[in-house]
């Protein structure tokens, strides 16, 4: 059952939330030993919440648009009293004293949190292999990675553990695992969804979004979690129209650009073939398709791998062994800080902190961080000219289908290249999503990325719905 179907059945009293939740907890118990999508399964809490929702329905009140829908949360979303680890040793033993805004919104909409999902440590990675608790495996082929960094969330939805999961996307961490696991994944416009309670990686890039099996489910979740929040000063202050309302409006007359810089060089032929098929489907539905060019997009990866680590090096300074999480003793506070951080962070987090510290340090700031910020402007300007000619852009989400576990762990540059199609949109703040569109030569899922200008979600979802229906 999809999330929309579950909510309809629970709200109308046809099904109990408890039976829905029990069923999903059974699937998790039977399957997660092989997948390791979850860091924590909150079975008792989920059952109690389901009973509450059933009580509300019995009493004649409406529990909300996601009534009884099981939801898995990436383990960097704060849940009051429930361990939140970011898949890092350094947050060992920490239970946040508050809920993230999105967690409150889901709760108020009647959703049921079933657990916290595995991720690359502090969301730094593209395969979920950088987790202190071991990798997640791709439910479509357990010898492959699920992508990352929200690999646990993508795998949870792909494996049927939950119809909805939330992830965070700083450079592709929702879209790329969605593509590799064959599910829908949305990176909303920066500022559309509150970041309050999302453990910060790179604050000017981070955005929370949903994983689902259908486009309609993603729209339903986005309509719940989008909107202004006084607790996030970077949230957009105006409410947006519900995406669900215009989902079926089609793409007749829309101008769609195939983003040349992200669709040619380095894209596996079988992935490129699926993009061509998607373009054909949009054309058949009445869209006018042409090639689009954003020349500066090729510099996205370079700008991203300076800006994101720079922001991370500052954000992760808070893990010092004083206020929460791990502490490793030292004879002085600086020694304690160093001992704690050295023991608590994994290799990739250390590498990124060091890149960022270097890029921000005196003498290098202008050459690296300053330059990256100007490249960011260049990319924004290039996209702005393209939006004068196009309503939407498309590209592959990932250059390849899911790669094998261990294939790229020894070579950070090869891992970073996995993000080449997804990072430009984080730098610009625009909306983007990945829609599953068939399989590659290896039988593994291929995702098509749809990009829209800021707050272009309604149009983006219309195209996603057309692609989904054409399969």
């Amino acid at each position: 059952m999809t999330a929309v179907e579950i909510a309809a059945a629970v709200r109308s009293g046809q099904r109990s939330a408890r039976s829905v939740v029990d069923e999903h907890l059974d699937v998790i118990a039977g399957g997660d030993a092989d997948i390791h999508a979850f860091n924590l399964v909150a079975a008792a809490q989920a059952r109690a919440r389901a009973d509450e929702i059933d009580g509300a329905v019995a009493a004649g009140s409406d529990p909300g648009p996601l009534a009884g829908v099981p939801v898995a949360l990436k383990d960097n979303l704060c849940t009051r009293g429930l361990a939140t680890t970011c898949s890092s040793r350094i947050l060992e033993g920490w239970a946040p004293p508050y809920d993230a805004t999105v967690v409150e919104q889901l709760h108020n909409a009647g959703a049921v949190v079933v657990g916290k999902t595995n991720m690359d440590e502090f969301a730094m990675g593209s395969s979920t292999e950088n987790s202190a608790f071991g990798p997640t495996r791709n439910p479509r082929d357990t010898s492959r990675v699920p992508g990352g960094s929200s690999g646990g969330s993508a795998a949870a939805v792909a494996a049927g553990f939950a119809p909805v999961a939330l992830g965070s996307d700083t450079g592709g961490s929702i879209r790329q695992p969605a593509a590799l696991c064959g599910v829908v994944g949305v990176k909303p416009t920066y500022g559309l969804v509150s970041r309050y309670g999302l453990v910060a990686f790179a604050s000017s890039l981070d955005q929370i979004g949903p994983f689902t099996t259908t486009v309609a489910d993603a729209a339903a979740v986005l309509d719940v979690i989008g909107g202004p929040d006084a607790r996030d000063s970077t949230s957009i202050s105006d409410s947006q129209p519900p995406v669900s309302d215009t989902l079926a409006d089609g793409v007749d007359g829309l101008r769609v650009g195939v983003l040349a810089e992200l669709s040619g060089n380095g894209i596996a032929p079988d992935v490129a073939a699926r993009l061509q098929a998607a373009v054909g489907a949009l054309e058949s539905a009445g869209a006018r398709v042409a090639e689009a060019s954003v020349p500066a997009a090729v510099y996205g990866l370079s700008a991203y791998y300076l800006i994101a680590p720079a922001e991370a090096s500052s954000n992760l300074a808070r893990y010092d062994g004083v206020r929460y999480g791990l502490r490793v003793d030292g004879s002085s506070t600086p020694d304690m800080n160093t001992a704690t951080r050295s023991a608590g962070f994994g290799d990739e987090v250390k590498r990124r902190i060091m890149i960022g510290t270097y890029a921000l340090s005196a003498g290098y700031y202008d050459a690296y961080y300053g330059k990256a910020q100007k490249v960011r402007t260049l990319i924004i300007n290039d996209f702005a000219s393209v939006w004068e000619q196009f309503d939407l852009l498309v590209s592959p989400t990932s250059p390849t289908t899911a790669f094998s576990l261990g294939e790229r762990t020894a070579d950070p540059m090869a891992m970073y290249m996995s993000d080449v199609c997804t990072v430009p949109v984080n730098l610009t703040g625009q909306a983007a999503m990945s829609v599953p569109y068939g399989v590659g030569d290896d039988g593994l899922p291929v995702g098509v990325q749809i990009m829209a200008p800021a707050l272009g979600e309604p149009v983006m979802f219309r195209a996603a719905a057309v692609l989904e229906a054409s399969l």
Partner: protein, 129 residues
């Protein structure tokens, strides 16, 4: 070299093996962009202690990344302003009125060591009293 903000004065600055990037020394292709000593210095600024093996490995990996991102050097960016943030927002204010606050006991309960409602840490300067 100015210490990184927030990491003031805890590590001695090692002798630099190169001039500042963007200064007088220009590296050619294939030359090292970051040395082992610089890598060790950066780790110290970030309060990370690396083993010899980690230092060797990270120096090579950081060097490879810096070599890749050097592609932006070819771009003429002089006339462009930097982008810190994708949204055009500045000085967003809220009413200065007390709102909901976190429960103090709940917050302090998360600390590795707390005493009398305060975080307890080893000596910050000099000897313990």
């Amino acid at each position: 070299m100015r210490p990184h903000p927030g990491n003031v004065g805890h590590a001695a600055t090692p002798a630099r093996e190169t001039d500042n990037w963007g200064g007088t020394i220009r590296f050619g292709m294939g030359q090292q962009r970051i040395t082992r000593a610089e890598c060790a210095h950066v780790a110290a600024l970030a309060r990370l202690e690396l083993t010899d093996e980690e230092l060797d490995r990270f120096t090579g990996q950081l060097d490879e990344l810096l070599d890749h991102v050097a592609e932006v050097e070819a771009l003429d960016l002089e006339a462009l302003p930097p982008t810190m943030h994708a949204l055009p927002i500045a000085n967003l204010l809220r009413p200065d009125t007390p709102g909901e606050v976190l429960d103090r006991d709940e917050v302090m309960a998360q600390a590795p060591f707390a005493e009398d409602g305060q975080f307890r840490v080893p000596p910050v300067l000099g000897e313990a009293p």
